[in-house]
Subunit: 337 residues, 4 copies
């Protein structure tokens, strides 16, 4: 149970409320941000919710975390546009396509890929320098060397660089070279990382955990927003189910539901969302048709030789053809590409 105070409330009102809870034999946790929130803890027999609701400084008392989130993020009226780097805007009429290799491997191949992304009309370059891998015996990313490559390719192409950070100490290392800092699926629940990213002046791409509910995704975003950063891009990348012919089950209904519940733009990653290159194109189409603000696509000059995720990666020609094919669909959906 969370008490939301009126916007006009003062520190003294909060202190008085905490005292009142103590009198009722309960405790209170003061949440982040404004307006003030106080979670009721350890309520015993003396606790009386209606008495709280009568306190003048109290706006309302809520049980559902999503209701608290919405009480605390008053933005209404559609999607909050997020700009990144020189040319990327996510959440606008124009669809934002971010593409690139799973891992940064080599500057030549990265530049070749980036040139193809520009050519095809993409606005961002993805590429992992810090790689979260299931096995410690798998390639873990080129780290700083990879970041520097991303930085140089950015200079040459003007693409917005999107790259993942997995720990707080990696943020400062990635920041000079990145336009968007990505939270991967495995770290959606990593609240210290979310808070640290909330203190950055860069947009954050927050991927849904592969077993996270929609509520959990929106509350993870709220950790970032409450820490001061509302430039958040959500990303659906598939959930873990019993299905076998795909790596993940792309759960596209989340796209319109995010539009209904949240001001954050949402993009879709059909590469991880299916695990197979031949399913990327139809799932890009489905994502656009149901309202996604953009796409995150794995592209590599020779997917069969990619250092990771080759099976779900398009080659440069396939990517070019994909983008051309999507244009007509985008227009029919009142979007541009």
């Amino acid at each position: 149970m969370v008490i939301v105070l009126k916007p006009s409330s003062t520190n003294a009102d909060v202190a008085a409320l905490l005292g009142r809870l103590r009198d009722m034999d309960a405790a209170g946790y003061v949440g982040p941000g404004q307006p003030w929130t106080v979670e009721v803890l350890g309520a015993g027999p003396g606790f009386d919710r209606r008495k709280l609701e009568e306190i003048p400084a109290v706006d309302r008392v809520l049980d559902a975390p999503l209701a608290v989130l919405q009480a605390n993020d008053p933005s209404r009226g559609g999607t909050r546009e997020v700009t990144a780097g020189l040319r990327a805007t996510i959440g606008a009429r124009r669809l934002a396509v971010i593409a690139g290799p799973c891992s940064v491997e080599d500057e030549g191949r990265l530049l070749e890929t980036a040139a193809a992304v520009v050519e095809a009309g993409g606005v961002g370059l993805r590429g992992g320098a810090f790689k979260p891998r299931t096995s410690p015996y798998s390639f873990q990313g080129l780290e700083d060397r990879g970041l520097e490559m991303l930085g140089r390719v950015r200079e040459k192409t003007g693409l917005a660089v999107v790259t993942e950070v997995m720990a707080c100490e990696q943020i400062a290392r990635a920041r000079p070279f990145a336009d968007v800092l990505q939270v991967g699926s495995r770290n959606m629940h990593n609240t210290p990382l979310l808070r640290a990213l909330g203190e950055q002046d860069k947009p954050i791409l927050l991927k849904r955990g592969w077993s996270a509910t929609l509520e959990e995704l929106l509350l993870a975003a709220e950790y970032i927003r409450q820490a001061g950063n509302d430039r958040i891009i959500l990303c659906e990348r598939g959930i873990r189910t019993f299905e076998e012919y795909v790596r993940n089950t792309l759960a596209l209904a989340v796209v319109p539901e995010v539009k209904r519940l949240s001001p954050h733009p949402i993009i879709v990653d059909p590469s991880h969302g299916t695990g197979h290159a031949h399913l990327v194109e139809p799932m890009c189409r489905a994502a656009i048709a149901c309202g996604a603000d953009g796409l995150l696509i794995e592209v590599h000059p020779t997917p069969a030789r990619a250092w990771s995720d080759g099976a779900q990666t398009l080659d440069l020609d396939e990517f070019g053809r994909l983008m051309k094919g999507l244009r007509k669909l985008a227009i029919a959906c009142d979007r541009e590409l």
Copy 2:
């Protein structure tokens, strides 16, 4: 392990093969249909696969059930169109929209709904007379009385009637009034029902079980086909996962994968696939964009008063607007509506 014989094989070849298996201390199960198949059972130490492969009548020895299916259904070159009733074709350029109430409740409301379906451009009328319900205390359908209503509304509107049967003995009752016999999600694994439907001269709408893999769906269809009926329409209606904001997770990647692996057309049911009326429209759009051959949509004059599934049901106006809105998208996808 299944042995597929050459098309030219005779009964004598099968008998000889079974004898050969006995000599190898194994047994054989002769499968349905043509070409002949023999499953190897109980193979002991004397078993030698290569010896089987050398037998002249043997075409190949396969381990994967899907490979057997594909060896046995030689159709190639796209989707097999299925016609139903007077005006419905599923699997053609024109998208087939089948709509109507969850349950048949009353002839007046059914006719009103059907008229709206015709008006909006739908080709089929759905409506349950036999209802599979979780609780025995829930309404179980009007049964024969409901079927007769469907029959009379069909006469007045020309729509193809799609209705579910849950047991073999219901087939003969439903047949005079139905143009398509539906297998519901709960019965996808009901092999006696599948076989009985394989003997009908009506198209079968086969819904994916809510926890069935794609392979299981295709093999369920094969039970019907092997029994003699290849007029099969597959339907994705969402799977059961951990997600909470939807009734089911609509797993749309199955649409292009069915197109790749199977000649059967596939339609999508966004009503069950989400459980919420407000998500039906975006999921219809996504389904069309990724290649679905049609839609199955719950519609009712006053959804709040529907006897079942009201929360996921559109009213007649919403349905009309939906259909109008889909037309532009269909054209952009090289389909008609």
Copy 3:
């Protein structure tokens, strides 16, 4: 919403209630069994729940299907013992172990297996004559020939025969040879089959669907009970999840929860519940420790040559050792074996 009437209610009370609902612009569905239940359908703006609660014949108005079930099955005070055949009781202090091959294959092997089951202290013989198989190219069971083998082995050993039926028409065929009729996981939602089994004078073994919730399992049992048969044995056999090292995830918490909510005994099938012979013994132990009333175990003279499910099947020696090892545990759990 379901209205439960008082036990003393008459047909006239039901008729009056239905009239009252009509006056309120709603309809009513009269459920099966006693006491009378009426589901409210199509309630419009004129509907007033409190007015219903004031009607003298009305006991209560309930929203949760499980609450209706419990209002309608007044048994209290622990598990309802179910006897089967000559020597089997399920739900008593003595644990009931039912074992045997996945499929009936051959009378000699069946008798050899049954003798080992008797020797080890089992009370029932499982064996499938009608086999639900994913692929139509897989062995579908020996049908009547298999049932006759079961019947002859029963005569020789006195074991209770447990065998699956998949369709209403199979019931009469199986009845002469079976002491317990089994509903398999794929058919838990097959309500026509459940109702037909409710009219039999044989106990029913109802396996949980691999994606059925606990509520769905209990309501499936209620279909059988309401049709007149309360000799029901529930069975947990694992659910379908993302886990890969097992065929299913054995969800044992269902055992104590069934004990809390239902009078039906519950047994556990660790063979399907894990898919691996080496996991059967530890999961038998876990099942007993958390209160299961018995076990359903796949056993075969030479598992590697079993016609189905060999990987999860114990050989006769392994089964004998398993049973010996379980005895000490059973005693520590205040059970016998």
Copy 4:
């Protein structure tokens, strides 16, 4: 594909192997620890696996990550005992019970709880000071103040303190007060945290992610071990499925499978694993019966007033009775308590 080198290999052998891969137009990633491992990256048409296998320094070439893990952790012969604090050993004949509140709230209640744990025969005290919470508006733990309380209660009771760290920078803060550092379910995939914990001289309690496969759990442990710390305790705490009557599905078959594949002891958390106090006792019993090395249980003087997880928490009396009841079972399982 990972190449495992012979234990006798030198830096020069690794360098030669990398050169060889370059000649084959591939790259190599040198993994952590000993013996040396090299992952093959970007293999092109010139790549020849057999040539690698012929190199004298190469022991084997493996595809499965678990096989690499087992090649690199040569321990055999049962579970590796882990000692913690003054009196706790996990993985020995005596079952290790670790109990305490979800969150550290107040020193008085913590001490009262700890005294009850000692009295009942527990060896460890759990209590969260850093709390991973879905909502930023929920209590996030007392942090350093909570850690200090744990430290003082440890001094008074001698219990081993088990507490969670969620970020690398929290390790140094928790270390002085903790005997075991816990990785929570949300952080199982947090590889920077795993590596940092691998550099500690404290045992690590690694909880399975709620959607992690068994392979992923074992490879997460391998990140810790490869960084230098083999004092790892695994913990099953339930997975996320479609089930509704429990918070998670406790997947106990993982216990015997861990015993088969890994030297690390494994304990079970039935509190998170079910979400309901009334299911804790039967799941403790099941866990012991299938071979768990211990239990992690939430206990609080007044669960209804606990600041988090009250519904799944036992009170002190319930905990005392539980422990008494488990003793007989433990003996029947050749364990002590």
